[in-house]
């Protein structure tokens, strides 16, 4: 399944919704959206990934790229990842660099 990306900037929050499969073929499109988001100098980058079924290392590298491009002052949220996507984030140490939660803003 191809990757579907939608992006919106709401004030200081950049939101990107990913669905489908994020492999090396699709990663350049994700990078383009991250660069647009970074240009807006957001305080939060929110990645909605509930319907993202697959992420390869090329996608993980894009998350690392986003953190490096935006700097430590920007919080990257990964919202509602599927179990196997979350497993890949953990296996690659990304849980140290992003905030994983079910909703944004956080419930309660």
């Amino acid at each position: 399944m191809a990757l579907d990306i939608t992006a919106v900037i709401k004030g200081s929050v950049a939101e990107i919704t990913l669905s489908g499969e994020l492999d090396a073929a699709a990663a350049p499109r994700f990078r383009q959206e991250l660069e647009v988001a970074a240009a807006g100098k957001p305080s939060d980058l929110v990645l909605r990934v509930r319907d993202l079924e697959y992420i390869a290392s090329a996608g993980i590298r894009m998350l690392i790229f986003a953190k490096q491009k935006m700097g430590p002052g920007v919080t990257v949220y990964v919202i509602a990842p599927q179990e196997q996507v979350l497993d890949t984030l953990r296996r690659t140490g990304l849980q140290y660099s992003v905030v994983v939660q079910d909703e944004y803003p956080a419930a309660g």
């Binding site: 390869a56 590298r61 690392i64 490096q68 196997q84 690659t92 140490g93 140290y96 660099s97």
Partner: protein, 148 residues
């Protein structure tokens, strides 16, 4: 033993059909959800490497062959590509996984995910081609029945 094979151009557009092919085999082998994901990820990462590094500079992309072998115990995925010699098992694992992203170089992640995700991995150079062999253990149906 059952066998099946797929031949595709060594391009990024071939990653999707390789993924579909491997996932279908994983389902036929009865692999668990995490195991099927990891096997597909491993095949995808090694195919990506073959395309982005192995075929670099080639005027016409070569072909990637994916062969499946299944017996009662294991499902084996064999990927062959015509790229420059590259043995993934010689790539050291990343040593910066624990660092914040700002301080990571993000190299070696694909090979790491591939090799760490399968039950057995081997590499050989055969006839001018790289052969990567990924093996997953199939669930033991008798044991599952006993435990169930």
């Amino acid at each position: 033993m059952q066998t099946n094979s797929l031949t595709v151009p060594a391009t990024l557009d071939s990653l999707a059909p390789i993924g579909t092919f491997v996932l279908a085999a994983a389902d036929a082998a009865g692999l668990s959800k995490p195991a099927r994901y990891r096997l597909r990820l491993a095949a995808d990462e090694l195919a990506t490497n073959a395309v982005t590094h192995g075929s670099a500079g080639a005027a016409v992309p070569g072909q990637i062959d994916v062969r499946l072998e299944m017996d009662e115990e294991t499902l084996t995925v064999i990927l062959e590509d015509p790229g420059v010699p590259f043995d993934p098992s010689q790539v050291p694992p990343p040593d910066d996984l624990h660092l914040p992203a700002e301080r990571r170089d993000a190299g070696g992640l694909g090979v790491y995910l591939a090799l760490e995700g399968v039950d057995r991995f081997s590499y050989e150079r055969v006839g001018g081609r790289n052969r990567n062999v990924l093996v997953m253990n199939r669930p033991n149906k008798e044991r599952m029945k006993d435990e169930g």
